[in-house]
């Protein structure tokens, strides 16, 4: 057991546990907090893959900006604990859990039964994940998607202002 394997196992357990917490918590605020921990675990996993820039952006954008917005909306709407659907046991939830379990089994079987042969991170991975290299590639090969995404963000900002405003005419 070396440090890589220990780190991966630890972060994977944290990521799965906080994911399950998010789905099962009745209180939206504790669900949001577990999602923040989930994002930190994923940032750690990106670091084990030598993707430093993506890990930093993950914490800044997801754990920072998006989750602040979510928690803000939860507080604004003053949401309490979610009351369960009509009865204690409902067939819809049971069916959903059974089908998810089947899907997980199927995917795990598919991934773990046929090894891909990629057992080591590529030697160039450290260079690829650095902010300088990301910037180089982004502004040379991906300049059109980059400009398109800025238009998308502008449209999203305008759209959310229109949606959240009480009366457009005022």
């Amino acid at each position: 057991m070396n440090i890589q394997v220990v780190l991966f196992s630890l972060l994977a357990v944290v990521a799965i546990a906080t994911g399950i917490l998010l789905v099962t918590r009745r209180n939206p605020v504790s669900a949001a907090v577990s999602l923040i921990m989930h994002f930190f675990a994923l940032a750690g996993l990106y670091l084990t893959l030598q993707a430093q820039f993506i890990a930093a952006v993950q914490i800044l954008v997801y754990a920072g900006a998006i989750m602040v917005l979510v928690v803000f909306v939860i507080m604004l709407l003053n949401l309490g604990k979610e009351d369960a659907l009509q009865e204690k046991f409902n067939p819809r939830t049971a069916l959903a859990i059974a089908m998810s379990a089947a899907l997980i089994m199927q995917m795990l079987l598919a991934f773990l039964s046929a090894p891909t042969g990629f057992n080591e991170i590529a030697p160039s991975a450290e260079k690829i994940g650095s902010p300088a290299e990301i910037g180089n590639v982004l502004f040379s090969g991906y300049i059109f998607p980059f400009e398109a995404i800025s238009l998308l963000l502008l449209a999203a900002v305008l759209g959310s202002i229109i949606l959240a405003k009480r009366n457009i005419e005022d």
Binding site: L49, A51, V61, I66, P115, G129, E133, L138
Partner: protein
């Protein structure tokens, strides 16, 4: 089992587990904000797959895709939460099963 480094399959398996947990949340929960958070978790699971492939194949295209997925997720967060706010203002609820005006 003697592991000295982690094979690519382990990242794919972890990412599929996270994705399915998120999908289960989308199906079973009633609170629109928690459904929204589960969708974010599913997007993150896909991001993990892309970064893993990028690192193991030594190709930067995967990380570019993650960058764009994050930008789309940020746009989705703004619009999605604005929709939840507008919904709460007109119906006083965020439970998706109580919003049934267009339900057949």
């Amino acid at each position: 089992m003697n592991l000295t480094s982690i094979p690519l399959e382990y990242y794919l398996a972890l990412s599929s587990i996270i994705f399915v947990i998120g999908a289960t949340g989308v199906i079973t929960r009633r609170n629109a904000i928690i459904i929204f958070m589960c969708i974010e978790m599913m997007l993150n699971a896909v991001n993990l797959t892309l970064v893993a492939f990028s690192a193991y194949l030594g190709d930067s295209a995967g990380q570019m895709f993650v960058f764009f997925v994050m930008a789309v997720a940020a746009a989705e967060a703004a619009v999605g939460l604005a929709i939840v706010l507008a919904l709460f203002r007109s119906r006083q609820t965020v439970y998706v099963d109580e919003v049934n005006l267009m339900k057949w």
